[in-house]
Chain length 296, copies 2
């Protein structure tokens, strides 16, 4: 017991360590799980230096486990010496009626927002949890360099990485996503989740829609020191047309002049086979951004 | 429908392709599943050349899927241009009474033997299936170089790779294993499986025990052109003492002078986190052996 985060299991990999933790969350009013990968030099009680950190947000139905088993991040995190933090995708067993009834709402489907509706508000505060509480807990316990912090994710978690990154340029110095829900206000998944978590007033949804946030940043006139953005989208992604709208994201980036890029990847689908194929490129993208920020 | 192997799904990864197939097996008297990874140059109908092949045998409870999602072989198979073939770990839904009752017997637990007992014999012919039927099917359908063929596996599948490799030096030119059941005749898992599949006469078990096979090869006096053997064993493997007996394997290799090596890997457990950490070294080990054999 550290009082802050309790280790439940660990597995050595590529010389470093995967660790699975549970802790009591104030923001989500209950226990939350997360996973960590520490590169070899960061394992142990008193590492002599601090390491860049990447927060990974997973997609619908995932827990913190699948990215650790299928994402193939560890070989690159070991080699390039990056710490990886992977939260669960929602609170669990909160007692909210129907929380486990659908794969696209409630458990495994937080959409990384701070809920405002009476039903979900008491536990579904994932924005605050990830950007504040979890960040403060792991960054006080682990040898993390707070000046080299990035966020990335997949599908619902790609949406989460985009919106939490764009909303908090002072916190995240680099953003990337694999097949994100680029325009959730147009997507059936996003419309359902935002209606439930944020209520029916669509004005309230805009703060969690990547395309709106890009225009908001652009309208603010402050286009300096923005976190660079990279998105990869497979051409054979089964959710591309109905749910993802990465073309809208591409248009919003072009229209606003935000420092971002959406790449098409021919023949890849929505799975971790796709994610793992471009994992090293994303790691290198974030590290390059950290180095550029340090020089600026 | 090729008439031989039917594609059920495919996923592009690292430029190549993971393919999942089903086919009717004569040896096992029913449908069998297997997976394939083709490196980029081997995808398509008429590749211009043939590629080395590695057969992977998985452990207890696995299907052909987990190695494809968690083994992390594809990055290296893509880079080094190797075809990977991954059979399921047993027949399924055969109707044999109790086939799904235990994790360590029946479905997911074939131990890669040709069963001789009346109960299991009609379907559990995994030795014949892997060394003959599946090999002939995939090697007639895919651009495989039959002179560069290796076999490897994990736990029960590590045992499978060792015994099928040692029994068939004319077929397999290189053998490796992660945390194999090195002396199944001493292991509770092996004793149960061999009693059920091969009957109570322990003489009949020796042909599927790696330590016995090493001594048999040595006694034959033919120590030329043997397939080199590499074994990795994690020091924190939860099954090491009770089930694996990799120390016995090490002793048998030393005693017989077989060209093999058992390496201890400090801090690693029995999981795919361990396997993936040494995957590239195993791929390179097999490729080096293929090159040495070509020169000899």
């Amino acid at each position: 017991m550290t009082g802050k985060m309790d280790l439940t299991r660990e597995h050595k990999q590529f010389g470093g360590m995967n660790r699975f933790y549970t802790h009591e969350s104030k923001a989500c009013n209950g226990p939350m799980n997360f996973a960590v990968y520490l590169p070899p030099a960061a394992v142990g009680l008193s590492p002599s230096r601090k390491f860049p950190v990447l927060y990974w947000l997973s997609g619908l139905t995932c827990t913190e486990e699948i990215f650790m088993t299928e994402g193939q991040v560890q070989a690159y995190a070991s080699q390039h010496e990056v710490i990886i933090i992977v939260p669960d995708t929602s609170p669990r067993r909160t007692g909210i009626p129907g929380e486990d009834d659908r794969y696209d709402l409630g458990s495994g489907a937080s959409f990384y927002v701070d809920a405002t509706t009476p039903k979900w508000k008491p536990h579904y505060q994932m924005d605050t949890y990830i950007t504040q509480e979890l960040r403060e807990v792991v960054e006080s316990e682990l040898p993390i360099d707070q000046n080299q912090r990035g966020i990335f994710g997949h599908s619902m978690g790609g949406h989460g990485a985009l919106v939490l990154g764009l909303r908090n340029p002072e916190l995240y110095h680099s953003i990337s996503a694999f097949a994100p829900i680029g325009a959730p206000m147009k997507a059936p998944w996003g419309i359902l989740a935002f209606s439930e978590y944020l209520g029916t007033d669509q004005k309230a949804w805009e703060g969690y829609d990547a395309c709106h946030l890009l225009r908001r940043v652009s309208a603010s006139g402050n286009l300096k020191n923005l976190a660079p953005l990279l998105v990869d989208q497979g051409s054979d992604d089964e959710f591309f047309e109905k749910e993802l709208f990465t073309e809208d994201l591409k248009s919003a980036i072009k229209e606003t002049g935000y420092p971002g890029k959406v790449r098409g990847q021919g023949g890849y689908d929505h799975s971790y086979f796709f994610i793992s194929s471009f994992m090293e490129e994303h790691i290198l993208f974030h590290l390059k951004n950290f180095q550029s920020a340090a020089k600026a």
